[in-house]
Symmetry: C2
Subunit: 97 residues, 2 copies
């Protein structure tokens, strides 16, 4: 199993548009066969910082996800929103309880 924490740092003026434009990616990611969790959360103190909390069945599911049209499309428009590159931490999980 794989857990991913993807941290987004958004330009303040682009916050609403980011929240709008990321919805198709969230929807399609949740529908992927290998996905367990894919959910966007906002920092309770800094309204331009977000985290995508993801759980995937395995490495192959992450690989598949990273090659989907939605993921590639969002990547192509993301520079419009981000102050910094996305920070992605990937955890190989041996046990979940």
């Amino acid at each position: 199993m794989i857990v991913i924490h993807a941290y987004f740092d958004i330009k303040p003026e682009k916050r609403e548009r980011f929240l709008e434009q990321i919805q198709p990616l969230i929807k399609s990611s949740k529908a992927e066969e290998g996905n367990i969790t894919y959910h966007l959360y906002e920092d309770t103190k800094i309204p331009t910082k977000f985290i995508m909390v993801e759980e995937w069945k395995d490495e192959a599911a992450v690989e598949f996800h990273n090659n989907t049209d939605e993921f590639i499309h969002f990547g192509s428009i993301s520079s419009e929103f981000f102050v910094n590159p996305v920070k992605v931490y990937q955890f190989a999980v041996s046990k979940k309880n």
Copy 2:
């Protein structure tokens, strides 16, 4: 290494008080020797749903955390805030990259 996702479902009328009352726990948890990350995020769609995203050095660090005064104190007052019991998922991580 251990990753924890703790999901909170808060009574709407208690949202501000929850955000206020959980700050000492966040502060003390971040200061614990075994902590790597301890951060509270809010669901971007449902303003009464929160997640604490946690990273700990090892099982002993989690054990220590669960026995701190702040953790025990917050546990004792938490029924005031929660619609449902906290859902805690703990991931044993073999690799982080």
